[in-house]
């Protein structure tokens, strides 16, 4: 392992043509190799990819529609209905596939909203410091302490349970982690020499923040985004489970809400959607941890220790 590290690092500066881009490529290859060495991280990617592909390809994978009422309700799993049917005779496998779409959609869009808010606040807070830093830190602390789930429930209940509100509310409540992380990165990175160099070249503060510091802070921000997706997926499932999801959207949480009344007589209605949520969250967490270890040499050593 150590010899690989040395040889990759030594090869990069040898060629005169576009050394920086070559070094970046070498670093990326090193990262890929480190990531591939981590078995649980690979399991994570596999799980996430599988669930995303299955959700996207839903219509190709099942002849059934998640909504069409069937003749035989509460059928146990069989060769025609892999996951059985629900109380209205609808195919649970089809609902499972289409339900994955809701999780992926809400998770990704809400996490993107959170990351944009978190990075903006964290960058301003960490780069400029002073009173604006104080205010942003106070607000961030407040949003990490108040009971986020209760606030999400009250807000969606009052504003109306639809897809747009669910995504926006989850996005607006999940940014504190990204803010804290980005702020910490900016506080460290702003003292580096490349920032001084950019300043001497007359770069504006905003251009330093976005073109100099942000690209260097990206790796941990990406890891955080993946973890935020997993947080958003769980929150979406929770809201749907409590009847606060979009009633027109098939989702794993809504399936579990319905399954509650038939738990004993039709356990398949409850088992599969819950497996979907758990595996998706597990995959995202494993992926986030794996990325973190592959990107952070110190953690890599600790994991080995």
């Amino acid at each position: 392992m150590t010899s690989n590290l040395v040889s990759t690092a030594a090869q990069a500066p040898q060629s005169a043509v576009s050394a920086p881009s070559r070094r970046k490529q070498a670093a990326f290859r090193l990262f890929l190799r480190k990531y591939a060495e981590n078995r649980s991280a690979l399991v994570g990617v596999a799980l996430v990819l599988l669930l995303v592909v299955v959700a996207v390809a839903a219509p190709l994978l099942t002849p059934f529609s998640p909504r069409t009422l069937g003749n035989v309700p509460l059928q146990p799993p069989s060769l025609t209905h892999f996951m059985g049917t629900d109380d209205l005779g609808r195919d649970v496998f089809a609902q499972f596939l289409y339900g994955g779409r809701a999780s992926v959609l809400v998770g990704v869009v809400a996490a993107t909203i959170s990351t944009v808010i978190g990075v903006l606040l964290g960058a301003v807070s960490g780069y400029w410091g002073g009173w604006i830093d104080d205010i942003i830190q106070r607000v961030t602390e407040m949003f990490s302490i108040i009971p986020r789930y209760f606030l999400a429930m009250v807000t969606v209940a009052i504003l109306g349970a639809n897809l747009f509100n669910v995504i926006v509310v989850i996005g607006l409540l999940s940014w504190p982690a990204a803010t804290k992380l980005t702020r910490a990165e900016f506080v460290t990175l702003k003292t580096r020499s490349f920032v001084d160099a950019a300043k001497m070249n007359g770069a504006s503060s905003w251009s330093i923040v976005f073109s100099e510091i942000l690209p260097n802070a990206m790796p941990p921000i990406i890891v955080q985004t993946i973890l935020t997706i997993s947080v958003a997926v769980l929150m979406e499932a929770t809201l749907s489970f409590l009847g606060l999801g979009d009633p027109n959207l098939v989702s794993w949480g809504l399936m579990l809400n319905k399954a509650q009344s038939f738990l004993t007589i039709a356990p398949w209605m409850a088992i599969f959607p819950g497996l979907g949520i758990s595996l998706f969250i597990l995959g995202l967490n494993l992926m986030g941890d794996g990325l973190n270890q592959a990107l952070n040499p110190r953690l890599r050593r600790e994991a080995k220790a």
């Binding site: 106070r138 108040i146 009971p147 429930m153 807000t155 209940a157 009052i158 929770t238």
Partner: protein, 327 residues
């Protein structure tokens, strides 16, 4: 000694003052929500089937015809005097209904927390002693899975196995319908009802506390003073429990305290699945009934509770580890 107690007092006062903006923030959020709602805030608070007189009375009471800042002050005054509105469904003041349910939720939270901390710490010590051993790998993988299971699904699966299939434990509620209502029999009956919801709740705390304690312990065990303790001839057990664990637990509790707001959210789904008569189940019932005054009131009370527990956790951490005070 004297300067220490002065510093401690100053720290306590400083932390108390830091809680004030938090409390004001929660009230401001609630106030904003009332006004963000589609339609007339008075109609929202009075409920769907209120008479025009009731709506008019609420409009008067909340000063909804006043300028905005004055409305906020009116609302602030109401919250400060414990007036969180009136639930038309329960025909009772919101504060009374919520306070009535709080002990049941606290019991569930407390039992889950103690249970998970004990199990997590024991497992973390065994793992950290030999990192990457078979035991560590199995425990760490289980923690990863426990961390990913949604509490409500885990609860449903526990009911499926331990109530429906095996018939060992009740599916929900807090007491048996025809059970004893006095003495030890009542406590035992309640304990039987508590096992499954507390387990569903504890799995997540356990996974989190295990992961935090394990990594913190591994870090601590590499410190110089641990090596010194070993060289002094202390037994491994003494080094682990007296030195390493004590210094690792404070940051763990601090991190868990910060996540408290997320954790209490679990009370809603766990109490819903197990029909446990706490604040969480009340929340679910109010969502179904769209009982807005009650929803908003629960949010205020739970937020205040979380802020207070957070404050207490910080103070306890400062007492255990006085270095925090001087940070």
């Amino acid at each position: 000694m004297k300067s220490t107690s002065v510093a401690t007092l100053a720290y306590v006062i400083r932390r108390l003052f830091q809680a004030i903006p938090l409390i004001l923030g929660v009230i401001a959020i609630n106030f904003t929500l009332i006004h963000l709602a589609p339609g007339d805030p008075a109609t929202l608070l009075a409920g769907e089937f209120a008479s025009p007189e009731a709506v008019e009375r609420l409009r008067e009471e909340f000063g909804l015809n006043d300028p905005f800042y004055k409305q906020f002050l009116t609302y602030l005054g109401k919250v400060a005097t414990g007036d969180l509105g009136y639930s038309y469904r329960f025909r009772a003041p919101v504060l009374d209904i919520v306070l009535d349910r709080i002990p049941n939720t606290l019991l569930l939270l407390f039992v889950s927390f103690v249970l998970s901390m004990i199990v997590a710490v024991v497992l973390a010590v065994l793992s950290a002693r030999r990192p990457n051993s078979l035991f560590d790998n199995v425990a760490s993988s289980l923690a990863m899975v426990g961390y990913a299971l949604p509490m409500f699904w885990l609860g449903m699966m526990l009911i499926l196995v331990f109530s429906s299939q095996l018939g060992w434990l009740p599916t929900g509620g807090m007491y048996s319908l025809r059970g004893e209502r006095t003495g030890l029999a009542m406590v035992l009956d309640m304990a039987r009802h508590l096992v499954l919801p507390a387990t569903a709740f504890a799995a997540y705390f356990m996974a989190m506390a295990y992961r935090l304690t394990r990594s913190k312990l591994i870090e601590t065990l590499r410190e110089d003073y641990i090596r010194t303790a070993h060289m002094k001839g202390l037994s491994e057990r003494e080094v682990l429990f007296r030195h390493a664990l004590r210094n690792s637990l404070v940051p763990v509790i601090a991190v868990m305290g910060l996540d408290l707001g997320v954790m209490v959210g679990g009370a809603v789904v766990v109490e819903t699945v197990f029909t446990w008569p706490g604040v969480g189940r009340l929340m679910y019932d109010s969502i179904l009934a769209r009982d807005y005054p009650l929803l908003l009131g629960i949010f205020v009370v739970v937020s205040f509770g979380v802020i207070i527990i957070n404050l207490l956790a910080d103070l306890v951490a400062a007492l255990v580890d006085p270095r925090i005070i001087y940070d």
